[in-house]
């Protein structure tokens, strides 16, 4: 008897008053964790796989160079020639002094193009590089 009485009195439904707060918390998390997808990639590439790889802790230091399957090179949001890389990267290094250049090269590209790019990077004093690779599954 007692039990039945209690049940009939209590109102059903969950209070949604704190829902905005919960969503705000989620929102804040994603706002902090987000780095915008700022560049569109025009070249086609598939990364090589490796085991002894490291994560780059600070994403804001990274600047990307894409090397596509048909020897196309993309820096920032444009396809560039090898000889242009030096000036672009030199400017970048002035903005971010300890820039890490991540080379996202297609696994079937030849070393020649990578050597050329590395030479340009050395001339631009961008000496920290990263051969982008996927975890071997």
């Amino acid at each position: 008897m007692k039990f039945e009485k209690k049940r009939s009195q209590s109102s059903t439904g969950i209070s949604t008053a704190s829902l905005p707060d919960i969503i705000f918390m989620l929102l804040l998390f994603f706002m902090v964790a987000t780095t915008m997808r700022e560049q569109e990639v025009f070249v086609k590439f598939s990364l090589p796989e490796a085991e002894a790889i490291q994560k780059i802790e600070n994403k804001r230091l990274v600047s990307y160079v894409w090397i596509g399957d048909n020897e196309k090179i993309q820096v920032n949001d444009a396809i560039v020639q090898i000889k242009d890389i030096q000036s672009i990267m030199y400017k970048k290094r002035q903005e971010v002094p300890n820039v890490i250049v991540s080379l996202r090269a297609d696994k079937n590209s030849s070393m020649g193009i990578l050597m050329d790019i590395q030479q340009e990077l050395r001339k631009a004093y961008c000496r920290r590089i990263n051969y982008s690779a996927m975890v071997k599954s």
């Binding site: 949604t16 829902l19 905005p20 969503i23 705000f24 989620l26 929102l27 994603f30 706002m31 964790a33 987000t34 780095t35 915008m36 997808r37 090589p48 490796a50 085991e51 002894a52 790889i53 490291q54 994560k55 780059i56 994403k59 990274v62 890490i100 991540s102 080379l103 090269a105 297609d106 696994k107 079937n108 590209s109 030849s110 070393m111 020649g112 990578l114 050597m115 590395q118 030479q119 990077l121 050395r122 001339k123 004093y125 961008c126 000496r127 920290r128 590089i129 990263n130 051969y131 982008s132 690779a133 996927m134 975890v135």
Partner: protein, 176 residues
């Protein structure tokens, strides 16, 4: 009179749609977020010099790796299968652990212009792996933990002891 009436109504902002608005914002950030971190093999390029003087290095300090265009890997002039590089180098790193810094192993990786990039990365991966396993082995012996779980202060001595030296050889001049 009119003023008073307005005051009575209370100055509430309608908060019912707040959840919807924040939901929209949340969705926007969800879509634009890239969680994936960039992974790869980190290297430091040597400084650019016009004319390179080749400093003589004693032969037992040097591990010369050559990746040729056929995808064969030569370690010290002999053909070696890629998965064997790691163990081979680890032995040599281990034998030089207690030597001073200027006598430790130098790994030189050389490739030809026509070498496949994937082969080069696989080779580099093996070399990096050898150093990493060596560091792990040492840190497990001292602290009972993996190297990457150590604090930077603890990592320091091990890093000095192993001293990773990988040289990317100068590309040969083209032409002539």
């Amino acid at each position: 009179m009119l003023m008073k009436k307005k005051k009575d109504r209370g100055a509430d902002i309608e908060a019912g749609s707040m959840a919807d608005i924040t939901f929209l914002l949340l969705l926007f950030f969800l879509v634009t977020t890239t969680i994936d971190v960039d992974t790869g093999i980190g290297m430091t390029l040597p400084e650019y010099q016009e004319d390179v003087e080749v400093a003589p290095i004693s032969k037992d300090r040097m591990a010369a790796i050559m990746v040729n265009e056929a995808g064969q890997v030569l370690l010290g002039g002999e053909i070696i299968a890629i998965p064997q590089i790691k163990d081979n180098l680890k032995e040599r790193i281990k034998s030089k652990l207690d030597l001073p810094a200027n006598k430790k192993l130098i790994v030189s990786i050389k490739a030809e212009r026509t070498t496949n990039y994937n082969m080069y990365i696989q080779t580099l991966d093996q070399v990096k792996g050898a150093y990493q396993e060596m560091k792990d082995e040492l840190s497990r012996g001292i602290y009972g933990k993996e190297y990457r779980e150590l604090s930077p202060d603890e990592q320091g001595p091990i890093k000095d002891k192993v001293r990773e030296t990988i040289s990317i050889a100068e590309p040969e001049k083209v032409g002539n």
